[in-house]
């Protein structure tokens, strides 16, 4: 039995994406599809010629490159949305409700892209199921197996969360749309109006599990791929966990800010998503990023004070070597300036501007991608044994595939907006 109540006019505007699809949207999708196609073309070249088409090399050079950076980037992007949803359900922060589903979809898409990035990086993607097949024997020892476990768990829980919380909206809309309505009815299997309260309780407990998994994923298994290996100077650090977790929370909240601002602008949701929301998000992002800057500083101080050879060699590379323009540019232009801007906006409310906040968030997201590059690659270029120093200049294939995954993420998000309601409609 489906819900028969109607939504009022005020809420009707929330359905704008589902009701109208204009040419700008189709042109944007076409552009994204072209980029994705180009990425696929590059990937086909890589599949036929082997990973040698990238600039990764052993033993001199980077064994892991932009694909792993991309993986970390997307996996950590997958938290902000769920963190916002968790805040809504656990802390009863109702004002974030419009952003909840936007964030959840961002999570799902980001985890998919993270998994995709890993498959692209593998030398034998045809054997990807070996990692599942031999899971029982390896889960006791291998950080990569833990990673697979946690990512799959997180994905399943997030997907369930999204589906379950979406059902009440779908129930309202199922009769209004044709093909989409049929899809909604499939997803509404077993729906009864009484389940809404139960779903709320379920969401409460799922949020707790998801928050725990956020810490275990971005502050756990992913940093442990790097932090548990003394083989690479600069990676082996007990601080890897908190470092990655902070970066994940900051970059993902910035991403949620961007997505919310863009959707608000395009669909004219100024009444539903107030600027106050962005002020709060801005403060949160600024504070987390400030903490991240402090962690970066601590890390560099520890390495450079009386550090062993290997660590000093890696540190030299990023502080004064060939990667130093990238490092300093990212730290100053990418982290410190946007953080100061957002903190200033927080202290003086009348300096607040949506545009500035969004631009700062965009800069932060890009800077976090670059920072992860600076974590993964320099250590690999300075091995512990006296190999010649390596260099790593990603090839066009790698950049194309990275661009393809980003475009695919945006494309999937755009498709979702057109198929399902992206903002929860309130009941009168």
């Amino acid at each position: 039995m489906l819900r028969r109540t109607t939504i009022d006019q005020h809420q009707e505007s929330l359905l704008r994406p589902l009701l109208n699809t204009g040419r700008p949207f189709l042109m944007l999708c076409a552009a994204l599809a072209l980029i994705v196609g180009w990425g696929v073309y590059a990937w086909i070249i890589q599949l036929s010629q082997g990973l040698g088409v990238t600039a990764m090399r052993t033993p001199v050079g980077a064994t892991w490159g932009v694909y792993i950076v991309n993986f970390i980037f997307f996996a950590s992007m997958a938290h902000g949305g769920m963190a916002v949803s968790a805040a809504v359900h656990l802390l009863k922060a109702e004002k974030f409700k419009p952003l909840a589903r936007m964030g959840e979809v961002l999570t799902i898409v980001a985890v998919c892209m993270a998994g995709f990035s890993i498959v692209i990086d593998m030398g034998r993607p045809d054997r990807v199921f070996n990692m599942i097949l031999y899971w029982p024997g390896r889960v006791g020892e291998s950080p990569l197996t833990w990673d697979i476990t946690v990512i799959i768990l997180y994905f399943m829980l997030s997907l369930s969360f999204l589906w379950l919380t979406m059902r009440r909206d779908l129930a309202r809309l199922a009769d209004r749309f044709g093909i989409r309505g049929r899809l909604y009815k499939v997803m509404l299997i077993g729906y009864r109006q009484e389940e809404d309260k139960k779903i709320d309780r379920l969401a409460y407990w799922l949020s707790i599990a998801i928050v725990f998994l956020i810490v275990m994923l971005s502050g756990g298994v992913i940093p442990w791929i790097f932090g548990l290996l003394p083989a690479q100077a600069g990676w082996f650090s007990s601080m890897a966990g908190p470092y990655f977790l902070t970066a994940a929370l900051a970059s993902s909240m910035a991403a949620v800010t961007i997505v919310a601002a863009v959707l608000r602008k395009i669909y004219g949701w100024q009444e539903h998503i107030k600027p106050d929301l962005f002020r709060t998000l801005g403060v949160i992002v600024a504070l987390i990023t400030a903490f991240y800057i402090y962690l970066s500083f601590t890390e560099q101080l520890t390495v450079n004070f009386a550090g062993p050879h290997g660590e000093v060699a890696v540190s030299e590379l990023i502080l004064s070597g060939e990667l130093s323009p990238l490092y300093w540019g990212t730290m100053i232009g990418g982290f410190i300036l946007p953080t100061m801007l957002m903190l200033a906006q927080a202290i003086r409310p009348k300096w607040f501007s949506m545009t500035r906040t969004v631009i700062a968030a965009v800069v932060l997201v890009i800077a976090f991608w670059v920072k992860r590059f600076l974590i993964v690659v320099p250590s690999l270029l300075r091995p512990l044994l006296p190999f010649p120093s390596g260099t790593y200049s990603p090839t066009w294939i790698e950049w194309s595939i990275v661009a393809g995954t980003v475009a695919l993420a945006v494309l999937l998000y755009a498709v979702f907006i057109k198929v399902f309601p992206i903002v929860e409609a309130q009941e009168k």
């Binding site: 010629q49 082997g50 990973l51 040698g52 990238t54 990764m56 090399r57 052993t58 033993p59 001199v60 064994t63 892991w64 890993i118 990086d121 593998m122 030398g123 034998r124 993607p125 054997r127 990807v128 070996n130 990692m131 599942i132 097949l133 031999y134 899971w135 029982p136 024997g137 390896r138 020892e141 291998s142 950080p143 990569l144 197996t145 697979i148 299997i189 077993g190 729906y191 009864r192 791929i225 290996l229 003394p230 083989a231 690479q232 050879h309 290997g310 000093v312 060699a313 030299e316 690999l380 300075r382 091995p383 512990l384 044994l385 006296p386 190999f387 010649p388 120093s389």
Partner: protein, 292 residues
């Protein structure tokens, strides 16, 4: 549509989970049965599954030598940096030119550095390698490195599929069929001893040694201590090829073996000892004179 009850839902869920676990186990068992290389200690005769003259792609395992622990001793004092070991290894093990360099890497280090197995800051900054056409150079000593077949190998710990494993007789070997090419072992090895097939290997038919598998693209490979020779009592190729007898190989568990006697008689060190990898290659510095 009638709603399902909570009990039914949980039943379905448990059933599905059980099915997944069961199918994983069944698939694993089936894979084990059909793949000879899965078993590490089954006595598989070397002649089986191999046509003379044709390269073996799947690899055939030999039986572990009971009670043995194989290790190598490299004499840095005698090594002249000629890289004959590197080239002999390459030829013996069907290593294509695209694995550059081969499984063995020989560094030329300045004499002023202490022989402790640690490179100096200078060498780390610039990388230590000599002109290959002029060896030995005065004022330099040569450090030949390869996979150390560590007892506490980090590569074995981190492999997500168990493709690399430690045997009872001291080898760390690879099962090329299981490797998915994630390269986690490559970054976990502190000695940078592992190599990855970035491109499909190109080898002439006549250059292929039928006793050693030809590795496909996308898998990791490394020194095997010539397991196909040494389990039969022969020496690894690099030990044979050294013109100044700077390399020694044998059973460390046997107190009368050459390596055991060498290690008892002269101070020795291992590379990156403090990383707790317990490598099986020890270095001595007896000097340039060959005393037999």
């Amino acid at each position: 549509m009638s709603p399902i009850s909570r009990r039914q839902f949980i039943t379905y869920l448990v059933g599905a989970a059980g099915a997944v676990v069961l199918s994983t186990r069944v698939a694993q068992a089936a894979s084990k049965a059909g793949d000879v290389t899965q078993s590490r200690t089954d006595p598989v005769p070397a002649a089986r599954k191999k046509t003379p003259g044709k390269p073996v792609v799947d690899g055939v395992e030999t039986q572990a030598v009971a009670g043995a622990k194989f290790g190598m001793v490299i004499d840095c004092g005698a090594c002249i940096g000629c890289r004959r070991c590197q080239y002999a290894c390459k030829t013996e093990n069907n290593t294509p030119d695209t694995i550059s360099p081969a499984w063995i890497e020989v560094f030329g280090l300045k004499n002023e550095v202490d022989l402790t197995g640690h490179a100096s800051m200078e060498e780390l900054r610039q990388g230590a390698t000599t002109s290959y056409t002029e060896s030995p150079k005065p004022g330099m000593w040569y450090l030949a490195t390869q996979c150390n077949h560590c007892d506490n190998a980090p590569c074995v710990q981190v492999c997500p599929t168990g493709a690399t494993y430690k045997t009872e007789d001291g080898y760390v070997l690879m099962d090329y069929k299981k490797c998915v090419g994630c390269r986690f072992c490559v970054v976990a090895c502190p000695y940078n001893a592992r190599r990855f097939n970035w491109v499909p290997p190109k080898l002439d038919e006549k250059d292929i040694n039928p006793q050693v598998p030809v590795r496909p693209v996308g898998v990791v490979e490394k020194c095997t201590f010539c397991v196909h020779r040494t389990r039969d009592g022969k020496l690894p190729r690099c030990v044979e090829a050294c013109p100044v007898s700077a390399r020694h190989f044998g059973n460390l568990n046997d107190p009368q073996s050459e390596v055991s006697r060498l290690l008892r008689s002269t101070p020795n060190f291992r590379l990156l000892e403090d990383l707790n990898t317990e490598p099986s290659i020890r270095y001595i510095t007896r000097g340039r004179k060959f005393t037999g």
